[in-house]
Symmetry: C2
Subunit: 384 residues, 2 copies
């Protein structure tokens, strides 16, 4: 049986992993839309290879290049925000929502409104749009599958079980490259040091989030929306080897955990084949070769991000969107050398204290709050 698929963010790392899996069972998939920000040549290559119906660049200025690369092919070229949303609304059995940051919000919502299956890799969308997005999922009867390795692990561990029986959900955290650093060392941490993640090969922004543990905090907010068991049942444990991706403990004392390699193809394959399973080329788990798995409690004195994220999730409404926007601006400032590492969370906390708009009820509200929060975060930066 052939299934149709759209990949929002086809040239990013989740897009590449998805396409790697599709290539392995090429006859099972028909590709509807592939999108990118502006990587016209790369996107055109993929679209031609996979015989996509439409290829879209979000940045309209890149459309002429895309057209030229696609000339003579069957694939329709399009560009701009409207075209991106239109592509996301084309019927597809499964949509991989993998556009990074708030740019992915609108197309992800458009895909959700199809009422089919969304494999969600866009963390910021769920953090910022929270209730707006989960309400749409519920309204349109959409199946939301989490791609993030932690949330995918939880999803697998919950299979067949009721939320009523969950005693706790524990997200594992690598602890990032600075997990053993003192506060003094953290204050002097450089961007080059922060982007070296021990277990996963990631972009700069998410690497800094891993170093501050904002990444884990944002995942906590995501988990709060995806698995409504109550914030008090969501835990974090530091597990440097990142072999256990997350866990669910049940009322009878059973804990189910999902383990695997640090390879995004595993959770993506789980989404693509769900509720079945498909092959991946990932090496088998060899615990005897690994020897040991270690665990420790998170230290919120050195890494206050998870505490801030929990507070934002508790506050609900606009707070997570404000927190996320503030963090994005602060991380960019850190990467540009304008903000010390330890000031990232300080700045986010200040922003949360100063800007507390009403809860968003629609996507436009979320986008407006995000823009306003970014502006105010930039103003705070000037005060540093």
């Amino acid at each position: 049986m052939t299934r149709t698929i759209t990949i929002l963010g086809a040239t990013g790392s989740v897009g590449a992993s998805t396409i790697d899996l599709i290539r392995r069972e090429r006859d099972k998939w028909r590709v509807m839309a592939l999108t990118a920000n502006c990587q016209a040549a790369e996107l055109a290559e993929l679209a031609k290879e996979l015989n996509a119906e439409v290829a879209v660049v979000a940045d309209e200025s890149c459309l002429p290049a895309l057209r030229s690369h696609l000339s003579g092919s069957q694939t329709l070229a399009a560009g701009g925000a409207g075209a991106l949303n239109e592509a996301a609304s084309r019927p597809a059995d499964i949509t991989i929502a993998a556009i990074v940051g708030c740019a992915g919000l609108a197309p992800t919502m458009a895909a959700i409104e199809q009422g089919k299956t969304i494999a969600l890799a866009n963390k910021e969308a769920l953090v910022s749009a929270g209730e707006v997005m989960t309400a749409a999922v519920s309204k349109y009867g959409t199946t939301l599958l989490p791609v993030d390795s932690e949330h995918n692990a939880i999803f697998q561990c919950l299979a067949g079980n009721s939320y009523d029986h969950v005693r706790s959900i524990t997200l594992t955290a690598s602890g990032g490259p600075f997990r053993d650093w003192t506060l003094e060392q953290l204050a002097a941490a450089t961007p080059a040091q922060a982007v070296k993640h021990p277990n996963w090969d990631m972009g700069a922004k998410i690497s800094v989030d891993s170093a501050t543990m904002f990444n884990k905090g944002l995942e906590l907010i995501e988990a709060h929306h995806l698995f409504p068991v109550g914030l008090d049942k969501l835990r974090i444990v530091v597990h440097p080897q990142s072999v256990i991706h997350s866990m669910v403990e049940y009322r009878d004392g059973s804990t189910l955990a999902q383990l695997g390699p640090s390879d995004m193809r595993v959770p993506i394959a789980s989404c693509l084949a769900w509720p079945s399973r498909m092959d991946t080329p990932c090496a088998p788990l060899d615990l005897a070769a690994l020897g040991e798995l270690t665990f420790r409690a998170p230290d919120e004195d050195r890494f206050p991000a998870t505490r801030l994220c929990r507070l934002a999730a508790e506050a609900g409404g606009a707070a997570p969107a404000v927190l996320n926007a503030g963090n994005e601006i602060a991380v960019a400032a850190f990467l540009a050398g304008h903000l010390p590492f330890t000031r990232i969370s300080v700045m986010v906390e200040e922003l949360l204290g100063r800007y507390a708009p009403a809860a968003p009820v629609a996507l436009d509200d979320v986008i407006a709050i995000d823009a306003e929060a970014r502006g105010r975060a930039r103003q705070l930066l000037e005060l540093v």
Copy 2:
């Protein structure tokens, strides 16, 4: 909704854990039959407390004592093998099959023939009767739930998944009290040393099985019958902390593991409530407090039992029953001081080489093979 339950082996450790759970939700259960070997006073107390319909002692000589302890109560007293089988055939929504050793074979088969749910804690029954038992389960449409912590873990990790998608199943083994001993030390191991199990509080026979790793080998044979994915997909890893109870790896590279305390109430609760969950008083898992989980490959030079069990499972037919009978006789001889620890597996291997009867097709065949194997094992002992 009230459910009916029968506990075969009510005065043993699995029986006690089951009754502890029933007491916690007394209004949900109606107790049909409770059985014991000869613990008349204890059995009568339980039967009166739980208002059981019938109480049975397998040893008929204990029936007068049971009658006297039950006089004036509503519970019917009965004794002997026939009464045991009759009790096991009384309709019950769930039967806990927890009689230790081959004595549990016939009543477990009688319970299976009801076509309801059996929570199987009798390892030897499945090892010895193997195909005879699984054929009956299939014929009568019985639901077989494994109580053993490892198999219950695997059962939970398989929920909702097809055997076709399983890449491997890994049983964890504590490695027993001698896991770090040299061959020379093992040759001089005493019964007192062998019965001190590091993680579980168990009887003498099963403690010795843990020390030789026959316990894990027998579990491998059990797993082979319970989860027919093929012997080549069944693995063992030594995990001294016994926190991960077992694992299932899928074709996509996801491994699901079940973790929990070393408390039999967890897997028993899982069986009692399946496919739902019930509360137990077991403490939450605290991996940060545990700090580390370690793993290593089994050493079959020092502990050849798992290799022998795998060979017996591969041979199939009567071989597992012969192996199990030989091991029971050898362990008894070791506990009595008549056989060195390292000769247990040597004797079992010799017996397997000398006695290879035709595959059993019915329960009587299994019982005859078991008896003959025990006789031959005793003869081998005289040669030692």
